[in-house]
Symmetry: C2
Subunit: 464 residues, 2 copies
Amino acid sequence: MLSPKQLESLATLVDEKALRTDQESCLNYGRDWTRVHQPNPAAVVLPKSVEEVQAIVRWACAEQVALVPSGGRSGLSAGAVAANGELVLALDRLNEISDFDATDRTVRCGAGVVTAQLQEFAQAEGLFYPVDFASSGSSQIGGNIATNAGGIKVIRYGMTRDWVAGLKVVTGTGELLDLNRGLIKNNAGYDLRHLMIGSEGTLGIIVEATMRLEAEPAERAVMVLGTPDMASIMEVLRAFRDRVRLEAFEFFSEEALAKVVEHQDLTRPFATASHYYALLEFEKPDDVAEASAMECFEHCVDAGWVEDGVISQSLAQASALWRLREDISETISRWTPYKNDISTTVSRVPSLLTEVEGLVSDNYPDFEIIWFGHIGDGNVHLNILKPDAMPMEEFQTRCGSVSQGVFESVARHGGSISAEHGVGLLKKPYLGYSRSDSEINLMAQLKRVFDPAGIMNPGKILDA
Amino acid sequence: MLSPKQLESLATLVDEKALRTDQESCLNYGRDWTRVHQPNPAAVVLPKSVEEVQAIVRWACAEQVALVPSGGRSGLSAGAVAANGELVLALDRLNEISDFDATDRTVRCGAGVVTAQLQEFAQAEGLFYPVDFASSGSSQIGGNIATNAGGIKVIRYGMTRDWVAGLKVVTGTGELLDLNRGLIKNNAGYDLRHLMIGSEGTLGIIVEATMRLEAEPAERAVMVLGTPDMASIMEVLRAFRDRVRLEAFEFFSEEALAKVVEHQDLTRPFATASHYYALLEFEKPDDVAEASAMECFEHCVDAGWVEDGVISQSLAQASALWRLREDISETISRWTPYKNDISTTVSRVPSLLTEVEGLVSDNYPDFEIIWFGHIGDGNVHLNILKPDAMPMEEFQTRCGSVSQGVFESVARHGGSISAEHGVGLLKKPYLGYSRSDSEINLMAQLKRVFDPAGIMNPGKILDA
């Protein structure tokens, strides 16, 4: 915790509203969307400029005070949790959008710019910021970059990484790095920008980014298709990918659909119940594209990969179909699910799912599993629902041992224990299933290069 | 140089054909496409497996022998030159293509696979490897990744970086890192893959890569358009980019065109001579796309941005138009040009070009300048032709002082002193124009993490 003298010296670096020690601020700024750790920051500081961030970091470096950078705090791995008396450095006030350039299609964003704010800005310029996910209304660009956020359109547009043309970062010594400056081509030495992306605040604090924007896609249509098994979903993916421009290719299980329909007052997409459903969105610039999609649908039905299906005829219908997928997370939250965010290559997903399903049903037959995810990217979310009768502690313990088995299977499939949620505190014990000892050792050494005092989000990803 | 005892112990690690000390091998494997440094390697070793690469690196680490990794040696910055008695480790024999997966659209390539070999493999599978440049017939995938090679289709497909789904690298201690394993989504810790890409063999030796392939584009058409000035080219880029799917957007100057037409027995694209020409290629899936391009052309003529133009009506015509751009480099090679490979953001290119042209014509009126490059990416190649009467040494010295001025202008434009050629030995003195002292210092520290013995391509990018 901070001494009164430390608080006093910190206060001289910022304006009077910027330093907060009240309980509510500490609770609010000390946690993310995970609710596993008890928030316990020493204080919260809200700098209003890059220079103030640098001053705070230099101060923290001299005082050996641990910093936790904080964005929209919608993370799911406790990467932004301050549970050990750290000083939370929140980027909320660096929220300016500036320097839009129509030729380069880039725009400068303070780290605290909210994702939806950038999406709306792009739209007003007739352009498009395509990285999108459930927390777009609260997540911030700096946090998105620090966690390399993914979401529902990765199959077409990639991860946040792919939209960062320039990055300003304050390292653990308070130095400001101005990386890549919006260039498309720049082979002048190591690309530190990419090293910073996804480093979860452990190498430096992202203070500003130059983000790329894209032309708006044409009109889109949404299809939901019922399939008998995962292998069929893979065939459907291959068939559609070759004939239409996919914007999204998601999946969910019958169990997921049943829960959503029951609790969100939605109707099933069609009468037939299938084991799995694919939701796909594609660009429909003209009638040819739609005809092509319908032809492909018929081909999939003939081949036995699709049992039934529906296509949106309006924006309202498209939104309604998307809700079947997007409302799953909220729907199942009442069962306080144990969430995993695993990936492998797309081709190995069916095998991974079969293995994990077998593992859970053999060893934990009393657990209900809800599968959904970004199947077009090889990324699935495994949600285990807590049986109502089971005490939370027992559930967490048993899920912990499920995780071991799941991650062993992920490792056998060459996969990732965290496809898009990052490592933070929650996935740290399992990092060895996706990264070798050599890699973890190298990462720790890299951290010391950028953060010799060990003050940048210590204990996240790697042991402090 | 290596002692007889060292050569003897090295020989035990590989088969008998693998170690070469003859003059021809040393000359051939000791240089790249630059001809500035005198090649002088101690020996050349050609391992046939990843295990042999590891054994050689461990041996070099113990013996303190500097290694220069070697691919197709078509580099233009002397990144693969061995001028100081190094051991050249050539990847030629790691040239297997394997594990193609049609669902993932990925394929495993040994570092020594030649670019054209991968392009042909993709084509045979009905797919496409889109990174393309003049040296595709000799450059190797490992070298492409080590230098993050760009080329003529970056505007649509990005750099080599964007096609690397997995990377195996042997670090300076002989450890093998298996990075990302072909995953689309993987946020489990720092992305060391991206750090390795473009590090020019100074952090590790790339031994294998999992490369992404893409659906083949539809039929394409090529246009060449004459424009009065650079500002007009930018307007043309914006106009076309919004209406067609650009595969390439290149430019060259009238001086470049005149040289190519004169020396390659080609005809001018049309009678009108313009200051600059844009060459653009776009996908033409149907008549709508072509009509759209023609409409855009007329709009550009009406606006005064285009003075004349031509569109290909056949593959043969498309190839002939491409030669106007692609043959420039070879054509001007007889004037032993001093080459720069600079970039800025696309929007700042006209200003950078004006500044650099003014600088050269004011201070060096006797020099002839040939401009061409990848204008859609903000990357231009400045070629200064040696006046026939000027001795080589005087020309090099004077060009060196031109470079200072050019790079000062690049720095003022926030640009890069090496857009796609890398740093190697040739650009090392100028790195400070694109990277801050902090960044260069951090890079040196990163090198020590991966290469504590300082044996990995020492002296390239950074001082050894």
